[in-house]
């Protein structure tokens, strides 16, 4: 490989951002000043190429510090990592959170997705833009679902700047002061900066505003560190503290920043049990418990673990899919913010069972508080020997690295996620081969959703039999539902599988005049108010011709304009298609165009375009490479077939 780098020079600031992540360059090949040694010795080749997976963290480092990624900065990063600049450019332009054009240091992401639109996102956007004025130095971006639907409308402020100076990230405490501490500055330093170097006036900061009023959004935008604090995660759990809870039991009752509190509340008993059972024993328990993946595809977890554990090729990897970008989904966020040690413990068990010594937690880039909480939890677990070379003194080595996504729903697709971690564009790979055989870095990999992993803890503490007794024979255990929209108590609900949709909605306080429920998220389907007796199980929803998907239940009353909702769904998929395959890349565009044409039409006037939607939708479902293109048409089709949209 004969790489050619441009002549672009990074600014001191850009260089510092990259060096804070990678350390100073050693030779002129990597962008250092030329030294005598360079005449005889060159780094590069294999050694440096092995660091390609630092490309995404490197882009984050630049974006966090400067706010955008210049040619000189990108070239410097490429030199440091021996990545071809054309490829790095392709990666940088793939993610919504990065920009390769100059832009203001402060970017305000206003969610305009389903729940937020229903809660007045357009008005919020207009008001904020009017208040900020044209010369505010703030970039306002309309964002897909920010995973805060229970507090819609939502906004996220990211201000680029220097890493918070000094020592460790501020240690968030629990309770009211805690919320203060983590509310403004986002808690953790992004990347690996240690704060040395020049101290600037404006440190990097993030702020989440939800529910967002124009006033609160303006304050958060102009001074994110002074933003009103985020409500505690427990407020997203209307049932918090109820004795019936299993997965959510600790949220609101146990300090999520204290390892001692976690242990006092039963934490790490599951890992001890795992060590007692041995890897094969753990897999047996998980299989007997009937655990099925909660990430949307409903694949049996035990079977996946077994298949990976049995691969002769090594190393094995564990990946936790915490990308959660499906509109309407926020359960993983609440779990990570409210009970982060549970995920750390569960990942340790999964890795132990499948023979992995390294785990990646691929975390959605728009979740600053989850990042802070998990960064803290990992550090504490490491300090106490619960991660590292000798976990719990059992001679088993395991550690977890957090990788931040950068705004791309497609990176939640399991193979796209591997590409993203590896420093390639987040395009799905074609299967076979499947991840259990060739996954991350081409090695056998287990990839599981956050909620799936957290289920492993009760399986081990209560035993497979007791766990399998919860729910129905084929959908076992407790299930989390993300309820939002026209309900009085939006939030994450935990119910045993088998409760009906109506029961869940009653619990959440559904409002009058229910028009439709979107079940399973944007890739799921609509059901009618007279179908509320559908049991919330994998088999029950399948029989009813719909899907449980990622556990989304979004209620819409009759004030919600259905055509606009459908347009928003189509727009979401058009925006989020990776662009790799034709049916999805062009099909999503043609569908959105057709929906625009019939936005205000019905009956015969819409019939031609409805037929066109069906034909394109069928080809997308049949011949797209991945689940995005295959399911992009589901919700709209269900609205036409079950709700009689456009009739």
């Amino acid at each position: 490989m004969d790489l050619r780098f441009g002549d672009g020079k990074p600014t001191d600031e850009e260089r510092a951002a990259v060096d804070a992540l990678l350390g100073p360059p050693e030779s002129s090949w990597e962008g250092a000043d030329r030294s005598d040694a360079d005449l005889r010795w060159a780094r590069g080749g294999r050694e440096a190429r092995d660091r390609r997976d630092l490309l995404l963290p490197g882009l984050h480092a630049l974006n966090d510090r400067i706010g955008w990624i210049s040619e000189g900065a990108l070239d410097y990063l490429c030199r440091r990592l021996t990545v071809p600049p054309a490829e790095a450019y392709g990666v940088a332009t793939f993610y919504a959170m990065f920009s390769v054009r100059p832009r203001p240091a402060t970017v305000l992401h206003v969610c305009t997705d389903l729940a937020c639109t229903t809660a007045g996102a357009s008005e919020l956007c207009a008001a904020v833009e009017a208040r900020l004025g044209p010369d505010s130095g703030v970039k306002v971006e309309r964002s897909p679902c920010l995973g805060l639907c229970e507090r819609a409308p939502a906004a996220l402020v990211i201000r680029a700047g220097h890493p918070p100076s000094g020592d460790d990230p501020p240690r968030p405490a629990f309770g009211d002061e805690a919320v203060q501490a983590e509310g403004g500055s986002g808690g953790a330093a992004p990347g690996v900066g240690n704060g040395k170097g020049r101290r600037r006036e404006t440190p990097y900061a993030t702020a989440v505003v939800a529910p967002a009023t124009p006033e609160a959004t303006i304050i958060a935008t102009t001074a994110p560190e002074d933003a009103p604090p985020e409500p505690a995660p427990a407020l997203a759990v209307p049932q918090a503290g109820h004795p019936s809870l299993t997965l959510l039991a600790r949220i609101g009752t146990t300090d999520p920043t204290s390892l001692d509190a976690y242990r006092a509340a039963g934490g790490y008993t599951a890992l001890r049990r795992a060590f007692a059972l041995g890897p094969a024993g753990v897999i047996r328990e998980v299989t007997d418990a009937g655990l099925v993946g909660r990430g949307g595809a409903a694949f049996p977890t035990g079977r996946k673990w077994q298949a990976t554990a049995a691969q002769p090729d090594h190393p094995h990897y564990l990946v936790c899919n915490a990308d959660e970008s499906e509109p309407g989904t926020f359960k993983d966020r609440v779990l990570m913010e409210g009970d982060p040690y549970a995920l750390v413990e569960a990942m340790t068990i999964a890795a132990y069972a499948t023979g992995a010594h390294r785990g990646y937690l691929y975390l959605r880039g728009e979740y600053p508080r989850a990042l802070a909480r998990l960064t803290h939890a990992l550090a504490q677990a490491r300090a106490r020997g619960l991660l590292g070379d000798d976990v719990l003194g059992q001679g088993y080595a395991f550690d977890i690295e957090i990788r931040r996504g950068a705004g791309a729903y497609i990176c939640g697709e399991e193979t796209a996620l591997f590409n993203s971690i590896e420093g390639y564009r987040g395009e799905p790979r074609s299967k076979p081969p499947f991840p259990v055989e060739k996954g991350l870095f081409g090695k056998p990999t287990v990839e599981n959703n956050v909620e799936t992993l957290v289920n492993v803890l009760p399986i081990l503490t209560m035993g497979a039999q007791a766990y399998a007794a919860i729910g129905t024979p084929t959908s076992t255990g407790p299930k989390l539902f993300c309820v939002s929209g026209s309900v009085r108590g939006p939030g994450v609900y935990e119910l045993p599988f088998g409760a009906t949709l109506g029961e869940l909605l009653t619990l959440a306080g559904v409002r009058d005049n229910l028009r439709a429920v979107l079940l399973g998220g944007a890739a799921g389907g609509f059901v009618r108010p007279d179908e509320l007796d559908v049991p919330l199980t994998f088999e029950g929803t399948r029989e009813a011709g719909t899907t449980l998907g990622s556990g989304v239940v979004m209620a819409f009353d009759d004030t919600v304009p259905l055509p606009r909702l459908l347009l928003r769904i189509a727009e979401f998929f058009r925006d989020e298609s990776c662009g790799q395959c034709v049916p999805c890349r062009v099909g999503t565009v043609r569908q959105e165009e057709a929906l625009h044409r019939i936005a205000d039409r019905t009956g015969a006037a819409a019939a031609g375009d409805v037929a066109l939607l069906r034909e394109v939708g069928r080809a997308m479902r049949d011949s797209s490479i991945c689940g995005l293109g295959q399911t992009a048409w589901n919700a709209v089709e269900s609205a036409i077939d079950r709700l009689g949209a456009y009739e």
Binding site: M1, Y89, S577, C578, P583, T588, R590, S623
Partner: protein, 286 residues
């Protein structure tokens, strides 16, 4: 084409192809088997010298028991598989894919497409006059070749040919995403500022004419390009000792472009800048 290459003998896989028994060496794709059986399956992103990205989806076939259709160019034949290449379902997807492609980019210089559009009764116009298109001006920034991304179907062949599959220059990649995804060099700049070494191997593999010789581009613009009147002569490059095969395309006694035979076991259609573009001295008649 034969699906039985020389080399280490491989196990044979037996499966059913359109109701007939088919036997191919392990590792063969369904497309290999189709071609060996004389079946016609349309392909665009598949290339004879590259591992296909299976992104265009015009080659999809039905595999019994599978939820979705499978790309024949990439899915390997498996023991006992039951494959049907010409079902209503597969034909429907191919038709729609052709419509989607032809409605979004200029396929006027893509061989075979017009014929497939007819065969599958595809109607690219039915998305209406306002259907979004990739309307890009051709990029003419050097004297050797032109990039006309208004014709690009994003087959990834040029990316792979420039990258790790052949040239190892890594000058080309895909940027952006979704409908806005485009082939680009670093920073989306001119070719002359990029890592391109002008081997022209990307032009060799481009199935649509989105990448073309400047000579061809100019002649097409002037209306003088006429493949009927061209002859192709394969000879040996005289520049260096590698001895690559060159195919000189000559119209009116002028070399108008240079390609290279893909079945050459050494070069597989690849050349360097001298063999590909250094032909002016041949026709220097002063």
């Amino acid at each position: 084409m034969t699906a039985i290459p020389l080399g280490v003998p491989r196990r044979l896989v037996e499966f059913t192809l359109d109701g007939q028994e088919a036997r191919v060496p392990e590792g063969s794709t369904i497309l290999d088997a189709c071609r060996a059986a004389g079946k016609d399956v349309p392909t665009l992103c598949q290339g004879d010298t590259l591992t296909p990205k299976n992104a265009c989806r015009v080659c999809v076939v039905e595999v019994e028991g599978a939820r979705t259709l499978a790309p024949a160019c990439s899915r390997r034949a498996e023991q006992g598989m039951v494959v049907r290449t010409d079902t209503e379902r597969a034909r429907h997807s191919r038709k729609v894919v052709l419509e989607l492609l032809a409605s979004s980019v200029d396929l006027s210089t893509t061989p075979s497409v017009a014929q497939w559009i007819k065969e599958y009764e595809a109607k690219p116009d039915r998305f209406g006059p306002d259907a979004a298109r990739v309307d890009e001006e051709p990029r003419v920034d050097n004297d050797l070749y032109v990039r006309d991304y208004g014709k690009c179907i994003l087959c990834y062949k040029c990316v792979d040919a420039c990258g790790d599959q052949w040239q190892n220059s890594f000058a080309i990649s895909v940027s952006g995403r979704g409908f806005d995804a485009r082939i680009a060099v670093e920073h989306d700049g001119p070719l002359t500022d990029s890592a391109c070494v002008y081997c022209g191997n990307c032009i060799e593999v481009c199935p649509t004419g989105a990448l073309s010789f400047k000579s061809e581009f100019d002649m097409r613009a002037a209306g003088t390009w006429d493949e009927e009147r061209q002859t192709a002569t394969t000879t040996v490059c005289a520049y260096c000792g590698v001895g690559c095969n060159l195919t000189l395309h000559v119209q009116d006694n002028e070399i108008v472009k240079v390609t290279s035979p893909h079945d050459n076991p050494v070069t597989h259609g690849n050349l360097c800048i001298k063999g590909r573009f250094g032909y002016q001295h041949v026709q220097n008649r002063d």
